[in-house]
Structures are given as C-alpha cells and as structure tokens.
Symmetry: C2
Subunit: 136 residues, 2 copies
Amino acid sequence: MDRIPILKMGQFLLVTIQVDLYDRLALNLENDLINMVSKTGARGVLIDISAVSIVDSFMGRILGNIASMSRIMDAETVVVGMQPAVAITLVELGLTLQGVYTALDVEKGMELLHDKIGTIEHPEDEEEEAPHDDID
Amino acid sequence: MDRIPILKMGQFLLVTIQVDLYDRLALNLENDLINMVSKTGARGVLIDISAVSIVDSFMGRILGNIASMSRIMDAETVVVGMQPAVAITLVELGLTLQGVYTALDVEKGMELLHDKIGTIEHPEDEEEEAPHDDID
C-alpha cells in the first residue's frame, strides 16, 4: 500500500493512520490531503492516530507539516485518538506539535473543528466559562 | 499491528480497512466491532474498503460475517468506497455480498444508514422519483 485513504465527511476530511509512515507514504499523504482540501473546499482535517503506538520525530514533523499546509489552504487540523504512551513520548522527545489541535476522539475533534470554523449551532457568546446574569 | 481502529461517529461506527485482512486481524475486527456495537449502542457500521485493491473469498466472508453479526445486534452494515476492479473480482468469484449494503463513499453510506434506521430529516414520502403535482 502506498496511499492512505482520505474520507470526505461533510466539510471535513478524515484520515486514519494505521501503518508506520515511511517517507513515500508520508509524502503521498501530504500531497493527497492538500489536493483533497483544494478540490473539496474542506474546512477541517481530522487525523486519527489511535492505531499508532510508536511515534518519532519524523511522524511529529509530518503532522506539523500537514497542519501548516492545511492552514494556508484555510483548513484546521485536529489530531485525535492519541494513545497516552504516544503523548508521553512526544513530550519526552521535545515535540509539542505546535499548530496542531488535538482531541480525545473523532467526535470531540469534530466538535472542536465546528467551534474553530464557527459552524456550531449555538451562538458564539454562549461561553461556558462566562455565564451571563443579564436576565432582567 | 493486530487491531484495526474503530471510530465512533454519532450513532455509527466507521472502520477503514487499509491492510490485508489475515486471519487474526479479521477475527479481532469482528470481535472488536461487535463489542463496540454492544457498548455504544451503534445503529450502523460503515466499512471503508477504498484502500483495498485485492479481494478474495476470505475477505468476502468476513464482510458477510460482520453484516450478519451486526444485524443480530440491530445495526446495519454498509460497505463503502469499493474500487471498480474489486467489484468485478467479487462478481467473477461469485461473491455477491448478500446482506451487505454498499454505497459509493462514506457520505452516501451515512445517508443510506440514516434512511435504513429512519433518522432522516425529511419525511419518507418525499421520494425524488415520484414528484407530486398536488398544488391546487
């Protein structure tokens, strides 16, 4: 296999990484994703890494690259499903995935994307941390 | 890798098959899926096989098994993203994937599932092929 499938779901793209990302596969993924964002006008990219148990600096760089490229194309990137051990490794490696949003699972990632691109149903002034008492 | 990740999206589960399904992987997938259906109360299972370019009778049987098991658990199964060559091979092998619904992509598969489980927004009498001229 030299291509990771990219699934279009509404205005988001979903990628599930299940195999080790070697050079060509990673480059293909970057290319395919950017082309898909351009072709579909997607506003968000969800990358599920729940099947990834080993992470290295290459993987971290690829995720960062995808996020940077997507942002230029006006799409936000959310990495979801990270295993606790992977998070530990990333921090120990000094990789903080700058510019990449993370969420616990796909559903939470979609909520985050909806929030980011402002297509959430409730108006934006309904902030949970700032309840208004202006009922009079 | 000995497990294929299963993503929960609302009331559906999404599985992307990217690697060849050998025995243990397929059995694990069946087990994991049924457990997830039971745990989450999912009403539908979407299996994306857009990355599968070679199909054999084992793969056909696994898809059929998953559909049968899911139906017992009150969930419908839709296989999406089948490559044309795979469809040709399936027919040539005499495998017609009985009991398995198919759709062109994930979005169409989700529409089909919504239709099947009756959670579609528009009422069911709004059939496209039967336009009504009852404006009077």
